[in-house]
Every structure is written in structure tokens, then in C-alpha cells.
Amino acid sequence: MSVPVIATRGYVAGYERDLPIVKGIDFTLAKGEFVAIFGPNGAGKSTFVKAIAGVVPCFGGTVELDGADITGHKPHEILKRGMAFVPQTENIFTTLTIRENLQLASQPLPRERQTGAIERMFEMFPDLARQSGRLAGALSGGQRQMLAAARALLLEPSVLVLDEPSAGLSPKLVSDVFATLKEISQSGVTILLVEQNVRAALRIVERGVVLVDGQLRYDASAQELIDHPNLGALFLGAEGAHA
């Protein structure tokens, strides 16, 4: 079996050492997979992905990216190793223009490749290209998510991690965002996302894991999760109210 893209072992993380939110998680993500993390509010889903991305401190266990230990690394180092993380909110710079956002994101690349990478994103998201000189703060919610995705994809990461990309969007925009993610996944990018929108997400992902109280409770294929009667009653039913 090839080396997993992400592998955590006994992973503990949170905002304060004596109050961990993620309480020992073993999780692997294989190359090319498209996986969603579900769980009730306060289960530690967001904290888990933020900690993997280096935003929240890790207090125990390890996380590997493509076989290399990245535990405790800084966000910009983790990004350079191939993991791009898109936070749920405040995921673009509102006081920079769209082009400046992408320019900033391209700075880790060698100088001669920066312009090409930005142009490629503008081809992928023509909406952004049309208003490249506007301040990102003037964009609508859906456009912001597009810009956030574009800047994350710009470095051609080996894995894309998203924290609730559908939060706060209208149903039409949610399906747009999910369709875009599906395309990105089909182009070969490994994707891990945190979602509250369980039923919609299960239609596009291949596998789902469920976190409860900072621990991994369930790990199954999307089909299994859809078919699972108990899980539906126990968890998806309750979460379904949010969807």
C-alpha cells in the first residue's frame, strides 16, 4: 500500500493543554481520496483540521503528510509541503484585491511560475478574472468561497483541507460549491472536508468519518453511511435538522 497523504496517530489538540478538544485520533487519508468529517457541534471537527494545518497547537500524538512528520510545524511550512487549508470564515484578505490575494498565495512559488499559476486560476474561475482589480471584501459569499478555493489550489497541493465550505451559503450555492469540489477531486486532488451538510456531502464524498467528543467513532464508505439505519437515527437524524 502506498504512503497515506495524511496520517494521524493518537492525535491530541486544542486551545489549552489541560483542556484538549481533540482527544486521541488515529486517521488516515489515502492518495486521491475524497473524505468528509461529520459530527455534532463541539465534537472537535474544526479543531482537528485546524490542528493538522498548524493553526491550533497539538498536545500529543503525531501527524504525517506524505510520510513526513509535520507535527508542530507552522502553517506556512505545512502549506509548502503540499497541504492547503481553507478556513470556514475569514479565508481571504478583504483589504487586498482579488489579484493581490492570488499574488500573495503564489509567493511560495519560484518567481517565473507565479504569473502562470495565477492565470491558470483565472481560467478555472472566470468570475474572479472579470473583477480581478476589486477588493476581495466587496465579493459575495459564493465568490469569496471561490477565491478561497482558487488561492488554495494555486500551489497545486497534494491535499486540500476545507472547513465547512458550504456554511452560510444558499442551497443553490451549496450545490455549486460541492460540484466544484467534485471536479477538483476528479482532477486528482485529495480532499478532506468538514461538513454539517451531511446528506448533501455524502452524495459527493467517497468516505465519511464521524467524530464525537473529540474521538473518531465511525469510519465507513459513503454508501455504508447512507445505508446505516442506526447511525441515521443516532446521529444523522439529529444532524439532518441542520442540513
Binding site: 493553526v55 506556512h76 502549506l79 481553507v86 475569514e90 487586498l96 509567493q107 500551489l155
Partner: protein, 303 residues
């Protein structure tokens, strides 16, 4: 009105503006008003004075006046060295103090207090080393040249104005046109997100300290050249610096220099119409006025 007020105000305003740029950059990117910024100005001036004195002692002719100016090439070399030394001081202060608060995620006001304590320690240390006796870069006296319209200025003063202009334009271009400046603006808006965009936030913070310290040093050297060098020179400038930075809008380089010029002109007007002893109160009244009317400053973003 005596038109000389305009020249006097521009000259002291450009000193205030230079100091305020460093202050406003640190304020917006490290997110705290650094009460020790005045000490960077003072230390910068003392560094330059010491290096210049050393050069003057070692190399004959280092202090011989250059052209119409009152100082020799020794001071120019000393200025460059002093900017480097002031930057090292700022980085050292960050390492032993401010960085630790960042790591602990302390609330901002604790950091402000620490900067207040650091300002006291740094200022008193200078007083201990150099005593409170004022120092001078040069003993040369300069004749003010007529500029027309009843205004006069010494060559040193004109050079100070020109240097300020060059430095301000350079910093403005750095911020708006270069990748470093883009990264600085990004960290200023959201340091956490900047890291996720691949920005090395620690490196940006170092850059800000180096830039702010070098500008503070330049302000200190100009103040030392035009007035005198005292352990309290930077501390006495602190209120005008804050007034200028808030007046211009925190984080705005053109705002800081404009704010500095307004405070400088206000001081010059006060000296002429109210009396020199009230000069130090002008910055306070400008500060109160701006907080009443437009707390975000001229170029500030609405919070």
C-alpha cells in the same frame, strides 16, 4: 502670520512623521501601540553619535563639513551603521519580550504595559551610560539661507526635509508594490490567515521591526542634527507620534507622514501665537480632536 512658521512646522513635522511611520507599522502589524518606540529614536541617535565620534577619532577628516552642511562623511557612515544597530536592538527587544507575549497569546493591553516598562528601562539605561547632558553631532553653526517669501532654512534642515521625502516614498512603494509589502499588509489584516497563504509571519514581523527601527533611527538622527541629543528626546516625541499615527489612520504610511506634518505645523503655530511653553500640549489637543471627530483617522479603515 510669519511665513517662517510653515518651514519650522514642516521640519519638525517631518521628524514626527518619520517616527510615526515606524510606530504605525508596528501598531498595525504587531497590533499594539509600542510605548518603547520613542526609545528606538533616542537609541538610534545615540548609536549614530557614538559611531560618528569613533570615526572622527580614528579617521582624520571624517568630521570635516561636507559642502554647505554642518557634518562630515563620518556621520553618513554612522547613520547607516546606527540604523543597523537600532534594528538589532528592536529585534533583541522583540526576542526577549514581545515574542514571548505573542507565544502566550497575552491580551494586547499586557503587551502595551510591557512596552511601557521597556521604555522606562531603555531610557534610563541611556541616561546611565551617557548621563542627562545633551550631546551634539556637530559644533558647526549654520546660517539660515533665505528661501523667498520671508522664509529661511539651513542646508541641514533642507536636507532633512528631502531625506524624509525620499524615505516616505520608498516605504510607501515597498508596501504597495512589492511582495514583502503585500505580505505585510496581509499580516496586518489577519496574521493567522497569512500563515495559511504561505506567508512566514515571523519573517514579516522581523521585517517590520527592522523597518520601524531604521526609520526611528533616521528620525533620531535628524532630530539630533537639528536640535540636540538627549535621553528623553524620543520619549518627548512619543505623544506627537501617537497623535500623528492616529490622525493619519493606523497602518497608513501616507497618513502617518501627513499626520506628522499637521502636528508639526500645529506646534509651530502654537509657538508663534500661544507661546513656546505650550508646544508639547498641541499633540494632545489634536489627539482629542481626532478622537472626537473621526477616531479612525484620515486614511483609516472603518472598524
Amino acid at each position: 502670520m510669519n511665513p517662517q512658521v510653515l518651514i519650522d512646522g514642516l521640519i519638525s513635522g517631518s521628524m514626527i512623521g518619520l517616527g510615526a511611520i515606524g510606530l504605525t507599522l508596528v501598531y498595525s502589524i504587531l497590533r499594539f501601540p509600542n510605548f518603547a518606540h520613542g526609545e528606538l529614536i533616542t537609541w538610534g541617535a545615540y548609536f549614530a553619535m557614538s559611531v560618528a565620534a569613533l570615526l572622527g577619532g580614528l579617521v582624520a577628516g571624517a568630521t570635516a563639513p561636507l559642502g554647505p552642511f554642518s557634518f562630515g562623511w563620518g556621520l553618513i557612515v554612522a547613520a547607516v551603521v546606527a540604523m543597523g544597530l537600532t534594528a538589532v536592538l528592536a529585534l533583541a527587544l522583540d526576542t526577549v519580550l514581545f515574542k514571548l507575549f505573542r507565544q502566550r497569546q497575552s491580551v494586547m493591553i499586557i503587551v502595551v504595559m510591557a512596552s511601557f516598562g521597556a521604555s522606562m528601562a531603555l531610557r534610563s539605561l541611556l541616561e546611565f551610560i551617557y548621563t542627562a547632558r545633551p550631546g551634539y553631532f556637530t559644533r558647526e553653526l549654520q546660517i539660515a539661507m533665505p528661501l523667498g517669501g520671508g522664509m529661511r532654512a539651513t542646508p541641514d534642515q533642507l536636507l532633512a526635509l528631502a531625506m524624509t521625502g525620499v524615505l516616505v516614498v520608498a516605504v510607501h512603494l515597498l508596501l504597495t508594490r512589492t511582495p514583502t509589502g503585500r505580505a505585510m499588509r496581509a499580516v496586518s489584516e489577519n496574521p493567522g490567515l497569512a500563515g495559511l497563504f504561505g506567508v512566514d509571519v515571523d519573517k514579516v514581523i522581523r521585517t517590520v521591526w527592522i523597518l520601524g527601527a531604521a526609520l526611528a533611527c533616521a528620525a533620531g538622527i535628524i532630530a539630533g542634527l537639528l536640535v540636540q541629543i538627549r535621553p528623553y528626546m524620543g520619549f518627548d516625541l512619543l505623544l506627537p507620534l501617537f497623535a500623528a499615527a492616529i490622525l493619519g489612520g493606523i497602518g497608513s504610511v501616507p497618513g502617518a507622514i501627513l499626520g506628522g506634518l499637521i502636528v508639526g505645523l500645529g506646534e509651530a503655530l502654537a509657538v508663534q501665537f500661544v507661546g513656546a511653553q505650550w508646544r508639547a500640549g498641541v499633540a494632545f489637543f489634536i489627539l482629542i480632536a481626532i478622537l472626537l471627530v473621526r477616531p479612525t483617522g484620515i486614511f483609516g479603515r472603518q472598524a
